[in-house]
Amino acid sequence: MTFFGDVATLARKDLLLELRARDTLPAMLLFVVAALVVFHFALPGEAGELAGLGLLWVAILFTALLGLSRAWVAEREQGVLDALVLSPADRSAIWVGKTLSSLAFLVLAEAIALPAFWIFFTNLDAPTVAGVLLADIGLCSVGAFVAAMSTATRARELLLPVLFLPLAIPLVVGGVGASVVDDPGRYLAFLGLYDALFATICWASFEYVVTE
Amino acid sequence: MSEKYVAAAYLVVFVAVLGYVVIIGTKLTRLEATLAELVERVRARG
């Protein structure tokens, strides 16, 4: 099987599993909408539209964390990861497949979250949505990678936010910048740079995360 | 007025270095003790 064939198979497996179990995506949806409601109460009256946009990114970040914490659970519990590593598939294909399925969940959650934000808070313009999509790629690629690392530890999901948040800070900067500033080009370009750099390093080093 | 902050900064670095030296010293003593115990064990074995 080719690299992309493997990736497609793995991603499709995750989506099928979710379709049957229906636990991760509803949780993410409910979480993000509840978070937005909490933010309404957390923002003092004069906080303004910009504060709301900033909090949108916080909501996205933590919704992604929620989904990612479950990302490798099935593989670990069934011992699938070892089997995948033993198979002739490229190890990085495992990571790419997981990134794509996490991305699908996050985008689906945002398909509800962004309109909710529109209704509850303020308008969303094209650069914001572009920023969200670009940042999603970074969040899911780095997130899936780091989630695989934390799965290999004793602390497991407890470690994921600790490992993930420092790496996610540049994405928040890029995303909020794209939403808030008049000239968002630089921030979108920065998000693209982050995605390219980290996807490369993740792809190159995933092999070492799953083998001895 | 700012002299106390300058002094505090240098003091912090000094204390950190000193603390580190003390920790290394303690570890070294412990290692020597363990080594002595192991040497005894080897001797006891004959």
Partner: protein, 217 residues
């Protein structure tokens, strides 16, 4: 050889700082700067060295490099904590606040400090062995990529967080200031080298003694 050298360099640096270099009229807390920046640069060197050893572990399968990488990053975290503390004291002395979000270097250090603290949480959550070595090494390498990306992010963030940008060491350094700074930098790096070799030797001896104990029982 290293410890006496470190002591001599340190004594020289402190003498220069307190007895030779003229005080800066604009910035009475200038003297902290002679320590703070060398400590920061040393911390970066520690992380860089740790990442280099991590690369050697993954690429050349050099097993000794795991411990070397760990010790370097451990030192880097200590120097990093000192950077934050001295930086905070300098901010308080110069600007009246304990923390300056507008100082790019301080904010970058905070992000990196968080990142490398997580390194230890990762490392201590895995049983010793090749798995732990691999995971630690990969994480250390991520740190190298994160550093410039974070710096860029912090610069970009200034546009919408703080319209006023605080630029550090704006005034040019005189020759005497520069010399003092360099001596201080070399002193710090020598201190790192000293601590690094001592800690590494200590950990290796620890390992051998443990092996010995197991062999005897």
């Amino acid at each position: 050889m290293l410890p006496p050298l470190a002591v001599v360099l340190f004594a020289t640096a402190i003498s220069l700082i307190f007895f030779w270099v003229p005080e800066d009229a604009d910035d009475p807390a200038q003297r902290i700067f002679y320590f703070h920046v060398p400590i920061a640069l040393t911390a970066y060197s520690c992380f860089g060295w740790g990442a280099w050893k991590a690369l050697r572990l993954l690429w050349k399968r050099d097993e000794r490099a795991d411990l070397e990488s760990y010790v370097a990053i451990h030192q880097g975290t200590i120097f990093g904590a000192l950077t934050l503390v001295t930086g905070s004291l300098w901010a308080k002395a110069t600007w009246g606040q304990w923390w300056l979000w507008s100082s790019r270097q301080l904010v970058l250090f905070l992000v990196l400090f968080l990142f490398y603290c997580a390194y230890f949480m990762l490392r201590f959550s895995v049983e010793p062995g090749p798995r732990r070595a691999n995971l630690s090494a990969v994480y250390a390498l991520f740190g190298v990529v994160l550093t410039p990306v974070s710096f860029l992010a912090i610069r970009l963030a200034e546009d919408f967080i703080h319209p006023t940008v605080f630029t550090r060491d704006g005034p040019q350094m005189t020759a005497s200031m520069f010399t003092t700074f360099c001596v201080s930098l070399v002193a710090m790096l020598t201190l790192f080298a000293t601590f690094y070799s001592i800690e590494l030797a200590g950990k290796r001896i620890d390992m051998r003694i443990r092996e010995l104990r197991e062999a005897l029982s």
